[in-house]
Amino acid sequence: MVSVASRRQFLLAGSALVAASGLGGLPAFAQDTRLRLIFWGGQARADRTYGVTDLYTGTHPGLAIEGEFLGWADYWPKLATQTAGGNAPDIMQMDYRYIGEYARRGTLAPLDQYVGAGLDIASIDADQLQNGTIDGKLIGISLGVAAGAAVYNTKALADAGIEIDPMGWTYDDLLTKGAAFADSTGGAMALAPDGSGVELLFENWLRQQGKALYTAEGQPAFAAEDVTAWFKLWAELRQARAIVSPDEQAIDVGKLETSPLVRGKAAMNFTTSNQLVAYQTLVPDPLGIAIYPATKAGSTGGHYRNSSQYFAISAGSAAPEQAVEFINFFVNSPEAAALLGVERGVPASSAMRAALAPSLDERSQQAVRYIDQLGAIAGPVPPTPPAAAGEIEVALKTKSQEVGFGMQSPEDAGPAFFDEVVATLARAA
């Protein structure tokens, strides 16, 4: 009875499956190698990525690469489920915050043994390699250089008669020009969003003062007073109407379309340089790109050349050599670079940057130029963030809202946030 019933259902569902999709997906020959590749992104990224996989498999008979892509929010639960279920894809795209989580739990394969033996890192920037090195082991290969950037609506600024120096503006400029901007728009649009909850911006502000977010040991590299000073700075900007109201800011839930810039409530957003093109598709006016504000004129060291994302290889991969070779092709071949453009950020390889330069469109060139010009302003890359970094980023956003809505004073919020950071780090350790 049991077997009859379930077999019938099995056949029913099974035949439907065959009807829908064929029994494809299996390699044509038993000795073929199959690599699974997973990444997050939109269709534009997928088209470029699949262009590279097609090109690569075209010259590698017997190799099949199965690509799968998802939106950011869907990507992480699926990857976690697959990994926990012992079914992790061979090659996975990683983010700077998650790569530590996965690497320290032994789910990603160290790549050091392949350097020079399948993996060529000669032309890859040293800081990009350093970003992908966790606890002394090379884990992730950077797919693009990105840095903190303020993306702004050039038309809105021009209409208000405001000018900023994209590579040298300061928080004082934000205060005075923001107030003038608000007067000019009658408060309908603010110059900037409320950045007090943006972890990258806070880190940048700390670094300009010679501090940092975390030490190499994963401890806080700032003090409670720093947090208080940070929230006071933004309270002052809020007072001067240089930034959007807490109500408006809270609508931003981390998606592009919820940002004050896209909704026309602010002329700017604090984001990363690789996002410029994506913002441009949602904003009718031409966008410009600027640094995060300097604490004082000529201040340096706040920015650094981050990696927008990495490719990493599952520790359980059955074909790590083939996976390494593919990644090598992905980051080191001019053909791949031509297909990929700067969609994932400016290539980490200097050779690829040179190969790519002539073919880029205006907006992409703008992003590349920004990374180039940042050279003098940027400081060294920070150590890999500790395991609890993602949770602390969320906590900073929540705390900034408490201060913004007046439920806690900056004086109380500083020590409160600091204690929370210490407790969260201790729990994750």
Binding site: A44, G85, V262
Partner: protein, 296 residues
Amino acid sequence: MTINAPAKLTVVTEGMPSPLRRRTTSIIVHVLLIGASILMLYPLLWLLAASFRPENEIFTSASIWPSSWSLDAYFRGWNGLRTGFGTFYLNSFIISGLSVIGNVLACSMAAFAFARLNFKYKNFWFAMMLMTLMLPYQVTLIPQYVLFRQLGWVNTFLPLVVPKFLAADGFFIFLMVQFFRGLPKELDEAAQMDGCSPWRIYWRIIIPLSMPVLATAAIFTFIWTWDDFFGPLIYLGEMRQYTVMLGLRTFTDSTGESDYGGLFAMSALSLVPIFLFFLFFQRLLIEGIATTGMKR
């Protein structure tokens, strides 16, 4: 069995309200309903408008009326992903259709047992069934994934369909139990006297009399399966297996370039099958009792 005669009788015997008052009531009801309908329709209108307007106007324009109209997003959306939406629709139809059959059969059997039969530990099993409703799926997801992987079902439709044939959704069992218990008990007792087996009572009496609740279960199963994205997200790995909802989600990535126009166009289009399914099955819901020959 006459249906109209008693209704006419009601009108005559009620007698009191004048035709004028009746018409006024009717107008008030319609005004209320139309007003409420507009509230309900607004999202669909907005969605439609968004699918026709230029991409960079979607989030910035305050007006619901697009500045220019274009069908572009529909063509772009339909073929925008590597696999066309035609495949996604076929997959969604197969999964939702099989789920309807499975749920209606398996859940009505279980519900019949709980509502009409007597057996040992019935209350215990009923409580267990309710308990499965209460645990958030987020924490059983990974053990379940491991189980389905051991069965070799990952990357097939089986994890999405087989549980429906095994009455895994207690919601529908509970729903049917409540309705079955509302049917007159004398019916099965009389049938039992005539020597009917429980199977015949289930198939010949309970099922035909329960069209409204079975139609309800069919509607909900179809729509909820169609709308579900988390199950397909976890268990389907290749794009040619994707459902419509999963296809829709790949239009947006919060960190990069997304085709919002295509998203809205395909979102609007994805409502068509479930809306038609609803329209068709709600007739069963309403006519159910009349056509089975019971007193109306």
